[in-house]
């Protein structure tokens, strides 16, 4: 079956729920009131009919001989009209003389059932009837005196009241629905405003945010989250843009050298030794370009999660030892000693982790003080293994710390020493650690520089087999 999903308005839904709840509550109230009113009217009528009955019963009790009875009978024989209300008197008796007829019947067996009360329809009108048995006295035999009192007035009132209740119910419910609709719409108005704001945000004004003032608290959470999303988008968009420009800049220097050098070389006849020299220099520049390109491709694959991880449980201390083995000669030349403290086993792709460690320890050697120890501290904290490379060196300015892992970011802005180092080392560290669902950190104080990463002890990333 095809179900058509209509766009649902919150205002309409609220109004409908208000109306339904109001109708429910009012119905209960009205039913309660109606019941109360009915029983009140009933009590009143009972009292009224008993009151009238007592006037007649007095005569009946007193009429102990036939003469008295005849007088009484004549008195009651006609229909009694009072205040426009009709009363019928009926007397039933075993003796035919002691009877008074009326256009209704009494069932003597039911007298006890309702304390003598009953209801009947007489000539199309509604009557209440009260009957009572009087024992024989003097000449008079036992008689049953019944009084029928026109209840039309009350019934009419009752019906009218029911109708009034129904109308009241209907009007109240629809008023509440309309009011609810109005209130809901009014309170949801900020949503429309926000929607208009959101629609106006595009790449050209990415720094615009949704206004958070004068908003209901319920919406503030949503708006904060939405603005958070915008923050992150803007950030990565700007980083992307900056990255593109950095890439262009980074490539411009070697390409410029290549063009210039080659032009100079070709502008005059050269010996083959000279040409060889120039080509070797060119090759060095080209090698630098190749390295930048391959690192950028690596980062781009990592960003897109296209690098399949073959996770294997590894001892971090072992990985550090193997990396130190590779870097041994550089440690020696810089007279650094490498200490490894602690260990933890984590699921990692060993070759990627070695790249991380080579970059971090390589940095510590390159930028650290000669003749000083480098410590690699490994510890477990919560669900993570934390690896910190600690070395002595010039403090990294506070402002640079958050950007340390950004692409092409260099602490010293001069591009000295950028021959082998093109500013992608730490961003590759970060990319690899993020691939492993970990995070990176850096701190620097009093000449002690700590750069490291955390890796989950059990990795949610499953190794993809191709």
């Amino acid at each position: 079956m095809i179900k058509i999903q209509k766009p649902r308005s919150i205002a309409q839904k609220l109004a409908l729920s208000y109306a339904v709840s109001a109708a429910l509550i009012l119905s209960v109230t009205v039913i309660g009131l109606a019941y109360f009113e009915t029983s009140e009217i009933d009590n009143y009528q009972t009292a009224e009919i008993k009151n009238r009955f007592s006037l007649f019963s007095y005569d009946v009790v007193k009429a102990e001989n036939y003469d008295d009875w005849l007088a009484l009978k004549n008195k009651y024989k006609k229909i009694i009209q009072e205040d426009g209300r009709r009363i019928y008197i009926r007397v039933d008796s075993a003796d035919e003389r002691y009877r008074i007829n009326a256009p209704f019947q009494i069932n003597p067996d039911h007298l006890d059932k309702h304390h003598g009360f009953s209801k009947q329809n007489i000539d199309g009108n509604f009557f209440r009837i009260y009957s009572k048995k009087f024992p024989a006295a003097g000449e008079r035999p036992e008689v049953i005196l019944s009084l029928a009192l026109d209840a039309y007035y009350y019934e009419d009132f009752d019906q009218w009241l029911d109708l009034a209740f129904d109308v009241f119910l209907l009007i109240s419910a629809s008023t509440i629905a309309l009011l609810g609709m109005f209130i809901a719409k009014r309170n949801l108005q900020p949503v429309d405003v926000l929607s208009a704001h959101a629609q106006s945000i595009s790449v050209s004004n990415l720094s615009q945010r949704l206004p958070n003032e004068n908003l209901p608290t319920e919406l503030q959470g949503l708006i904060n989250s939405f603005n958070g999303v915008l923050d992150r988008l803007e950030n990565s968009y700007r980083r992307q843009a900056a990255f593109n420009s950095d890439v262009a800049h980074e490539l411009r220097t070697p390409v410029g050298n290549l063009i210039g050098q080659t032009e100079v070389a070709l502008s005059k006849p050269r010996s083959s030794e000279e040409l060889e020299e120039i080509m070797q220099s060119n090759l060095e520049e080209l090698e630098r370009l190749r390295s930048i390109i391959s690192d950028m491709l690596f980062l781009s694959h990592a960003d897109q999660g296209e690098i399949a991880l073959n996770l294997e449980s590894c001892s971090l201390a072992d990985e550090v030892r193997q990396t130190a083995d590779f870097l041994e000669i550089l440690l020696e030349e810089n007279r650094n000693t490498l200490k490894i403290k602690g260990d933890a086993r984590v699921p990692v792709e060993s070759s990627l982790l070695k790249r991380v460690l080579t970059n971090l320890i390589g940095n510590a050697i390159e930028h650290g003080k000669p003749d000083s120890p480098i410590t690699v501290e490994i510890k477990e904290a919560d669900a993570f293994a934390e690896v910190t490379v600690i070395n002595f060196g010039n403090d990294i300015p506070e402002a640079d710390l958050p950007n340390l892992f950004e692409r092409f970011y260099r602490v010293s802005k001069d591009r000295q020493n950028s021959g082998s180092n093109h500013g992608l080392g730490l961003s590759i560290v970060k990319a690899i650690i993020l691939l492993h669902r970990g995070d990176v950190f850096a701190s620097s104080s009093n000449g002690i520089i700590k750069i490291g990463f955390r890796l989950p002890l059990s990795n949610p990333v499953s190794g993809e087999e191709n």
Binding site: S291, S294, L327, L330, R355, N421
Partner: protein
């Protein structure tokens, strides 16, 4: 040998292991087909491979390439993925399995997926552009399996004598006092004597590290080795080829 680690099948890995323990010299009678549309690339590949003693045929589009690959008798095919007419993957799919010539794929674009696709279609190895010619040569030698599998226990270059069994090296009568890494480096260069060995290859073979390390480890180790290998009055053996790598040979 090269860092192609996880994508290689077992056979290739065994082959690489073999190549690491044997002297590597190109068999001069080998015929190579280059299917590549970029003229400059074709030209330098032709020249470079010819100078290394290979016979080189070229095709500049997919259809010619497919024709030559099917009809010709080649020892290896160098195949670009992006080609006019018919792309590299399709060529590979149509020649496999009837033609078992080893294929080295060249990929330029964001090629991670096409690389995997290439392996599925039956490529033996791949290179990502930009690549170095030395690397191409090294891989070509691995996939052609025509490398001379000569087990050596002693290597002599001039008055340098390397005893691979006892892991000792002598310059004339002088015993060289080498660390394990320095000896491993000497061994790698000696087995490829007369050939340029790139820093990438050295890093991989000596330290088993398969990524751009951006460090001076190789330079520093070569410097140490050289200081022990060559005194001032001895002929130079270990030469630096700027921008490319190192070569161990006695130059007249």
């Amino acid at each position: 040998m090269m860092c192609i680690t996880q994508h290689l099948d077992r056979k290739t890995k065994i082959m690489i292991a073999l190549a690491q323990n044997t002297s590597i010299t190109a068999d001069t009678s080998m015929k190579i087909l280059v299917i590549e549309d970029e003229t400059k690339t074709v030209n330098y590949l032709r020249q470079g491979l010819s100078e290394q003693g290979y016979q080189v045929d070229t095709a500049s589009n997919g259809l010619d390439g497919l024709h030559l690959a099917t009809e010709g008798e080649y020892d290896a095919i160098i195949l670009d993925i992006m080609l006019p007419g018919l792309d590299g993957i399709s060529i590979l799919k149509s020649i496999r399995p009837s033609v078992s010539t080893p294929v080295l794929m060249l990929t330029a674009k964001d090629a991670l997926n096409s690389r995997l696709e290439g392996f599925r279609a039956g490529a033996d190895d791949y290179l990502i552009k930009p690549f170095s010619f030395l690397e191409l040569l090294a891989r070509l030698q691995v996939i052609t399996r025509r490398t001379r599998t000569r087990e050596e226990s002693h290597i002599y270059i001039g008055d340098l004598h390397i005893d691979l069994l006892s892991r000792r090296a002598f310059r004339g009568k002088r015993r060289l006092d080498l660390t394990a890494k320095e000896f491993a480096l000497l061994e790698v260069l000696a087995k490829r004597r007369g050939q340029i060995v790139s820093k990438t290859v050295i890093t991989e073979l000596v330290w088993d590290i398969c990524f751009d390390t951006n460090t001076n480890v190789v330079e520093a180790t070569v410097k140490r080795l050289r200081s022990k290998l060559e005194t001032d009055d001895e002929p130079k053996l270990l030469h630096t080829i700027r921008g490319m790598g190192y070569i161990l040979e006695l130059r007249k």
